[in-house]
């Protein structure tokens, strides 16, 4: 989000100062008070919490969890062979649980703690120390705050989904325990710092004035790169290009994609932190960009292959959602349609043609869709934000400058994420091994790694 955490800190502070009742009380009463002040012609702003915002942020948080479980789990799971279904579901589930615990322990503090560093938030808020029922976090409107617990929970789900998105790249062959170790290290060394750099007001990239409304760089480019590096280092699946690896259930993939769309409104409109016109804009853009991208993919496929496929429509859907993520609060509805359509066309040719040239096995196209789509979105944001293209013109810089800033932000993310991820994969590979035995891969991870079968009809 176009967030600023110092204000948050500030807000919390402010909150801390003012008397508890003042905080607990109803907006109406607050109003009374302010009204009273008003009569005394006092103008100072009192940090107030609006329950409408709290309600919206809580449901947004729930929606993002929904995106992961069962959203991503089904979207990915449907695309693998039946014998590996549970391994996908299991990885998404346990990653979510793991990252939640890490987030509470040190993640939140590293990303949004009080340390005034451009690279991380320090450990001051480790174990959420100091956060109480009364702690408030700032929003983008001066004087408007939300309970810090809501902000913590909302941000927590972002960390979870980013880690979960990665697994699609090396599906059907990764070693479960190794993956968990990788995730624990990756969120700590890659995700938390990048989140801080992009979203914290002290953050390096935030300082440059890069626009990333809901996490195009932090979530999608990050996941895409980690996935790409992973699938290259881990290597292709046994029988890749030889065995039939058709999705075992396009039905579930479509359900997963639909849930992703539904949940994404929490992701994008929730990133506005308030239930107002800004959130409404982010919401309608999350509709239109996705629609534009879906239609674009379907049309291109019809032209290119003669038939439009469900997997195509689902891929277009997700591509549109990825592309609009950084632009959701800045673009206009029509601009969003175009942004989605353009991203869709680019991703289509990437996953259906370019990728096969390189010949790496990004099983579920994490890079092809989240990486590529994320980059298109990050850059495109600089364009659709312009008033000239129907955007709200949030950026004060010239389009050229903004485009350059966006480009820099993308590069930093790619490099930092790429290098660190590579090191982590290697490290784990030599120590505990990244991949299951060939027999286990043949038998399927469900039985080999989890001792179960997904279906027994």
């Amino acid at each position: 989000m176009k967030t600023m955490m110092k204000p948050a800190g500030l807000g919390a502070l402010l909150a801390g100062l003012s008397a508890l009742p003042a905080l607990a009380q109803e907006t109406t009463e607050a109003a009374t008070e302010t009204a009273a002040e008003a009569t005394e012609v006092v103008a100072e702003v009192v940090a107030t919490m609006d329950k409408g915002d709290v309600s919206w942020m809580m449901i947004s948080t729930v929606l993002v969890l929904f995106m992961i479980l069962p959203g991503v789990a089904l979207f990915y799971g449907g695309l693998v062979r039946a014998k590996n279904m549970l391994s996908i579901l299991m990885q998404c589930t346990v990653i979510t649980a793991l990252v939640i615990v890490i987030w509470v322990f040190w993640g939140y503090s590293m990303a949004f703690g009080d340390a005034p560093s451009p690279y991380w938030g320090g450990l001051g808020k480790a174990f959420l120390s100091g956060v109480t029922l009364e702690s408030m976090a700032a929003t983008f409107t001066a004087g408007v705050v939300i309970p810090e617990f809501v902000f913590i929970a909302f941000q927590m789900t972002f960390a979870c989904i980013t880690a979960a998105l990665i697994i699609g790249a090396f599906a059907e062959r990764i070693k479960f325990s190794s993956l968990m170790v990788f995730v624990a290290l990756w969120v700590t060394i890659v995700y938390f710092p990048v989140a801080h750099m992009v979203w914290d007001s002290d953050g390096l990239i935030y300082g440059w004035g890069a626009l990333d409304f809901a996490g195009g760089t932090v979530v999608h480019i990050n996941a895409g790169i980690a996935g790409l590096v992973g699938c290259i280092l881990i290597g292709k699946r046994v029988g890749y290009g030889k065995d039939n690896m058709t999705p075992h259930s396009m039905t579930l993939t479509m359900v997963g994609a639909s849930i992703l769309w539904v949940g994404w409104f929490g992701f994008n409109a929730g990133s506005n932190l308030e239930a107002n016109g800004g959130a409404a804009l982010a919401m309608i853009n999350t509709f239109t960009a996705t629609a534009g991208a879906t239609l674009a993919w379907v049309i291109v496929e019809m032209i290119h292959r003669g038939k439009a496929s469900m997997l195509g429509a689902a891929s277009g859907m997700v591509t549109g959602l990825v592309a609009v993520t950084p632009a959701a609060g800045f673009a206009g509805p029509v601009g969003a349609i175009i942004l989605g359509a353009v991203a869709s066309v680019i991703c289509y040719f990437f996953v259906s043609t370019v990728k096969h040239r390189f010949g790496y096995d990004d099983s579920l196209d994490v890079f092809g869709i989240h990486g590529v789509g994320g980059i298109v979105g990050a850059l495109g944001t600089a364009i659709v934000d312009r008033a000239a293209f129907g955007g709200i013109g949030y950026s004060a810089a010239s389009m050229g400058e903004q485009l350059y800033t966006q480009f820099l932000a993308v590069c930093v993310t790619i490099i930092w994420c790429g290098v660190v991820s590579a090191i982590l994969y290697k490290l784990i590979d030599v120590t505990m091994g990244l991949r299951v035995k060939e027999d286990a891969e043949r038998e399927g991870l469900d039985l080999a790694s989890h001792g179960e079968r997904a279906y027994s009809m």
Binding site: N244, P247, S309, L311, S315, S352, T353, H356
Partner: protein, 112 residues
């Protein structure tokens, strides 16, 4: 007795079953199989990955009949399953040495 093995197009199953009952067949085993033959399969494309599926869905009938009934059953199947399109299927006849009905212990033709 003979074991008649026939592969036919799935949507013909009901028709064939009815025709056979009229000529006196009182039982059979039906299995869904993947057929390979001159009838070509199809190609599926998932995000640019092409998979040629060389098998077409077929239904396999296994019917044990008294020698006397064999020819009639074969011709009935042939007649009913026919669509004159490639992939209509085959009928094979094998010899059966003995048959037994589990419930009653009846043997051979009485078991059918």
């Amino acid at each position: 007795m003979k074991l008649i093995i026939a592969t036919i197009k799935p949507f013909k199953l009901e028709e064939v079953r009815e025709a056979l009952t009229t000529v006196g067949v009182r039982g059979m085993m039906v299995t869904e199989v993947k057929g390979f033959g001159s009838q070509s399969g199809h190609t599926e494309i998932y995000r640019g990955a092409e998979y040629a599926v060389n098998f077409v869905p077929k239904v396999k009938l296994e019917i044990v009949v008294p020698d006397s009934l064999t020819d009639q059953v074969v011709s009935t199947i042939a007649k009913t399953a026919k669509t004159d399109k490639i992939g209509d299927g085959k009928i094979f006849v094998l010899d059966v040495e003995s048959a037994l009905r589990v419930r009653t212990g009846e043997t051979n033709e009485d078991a059918l």
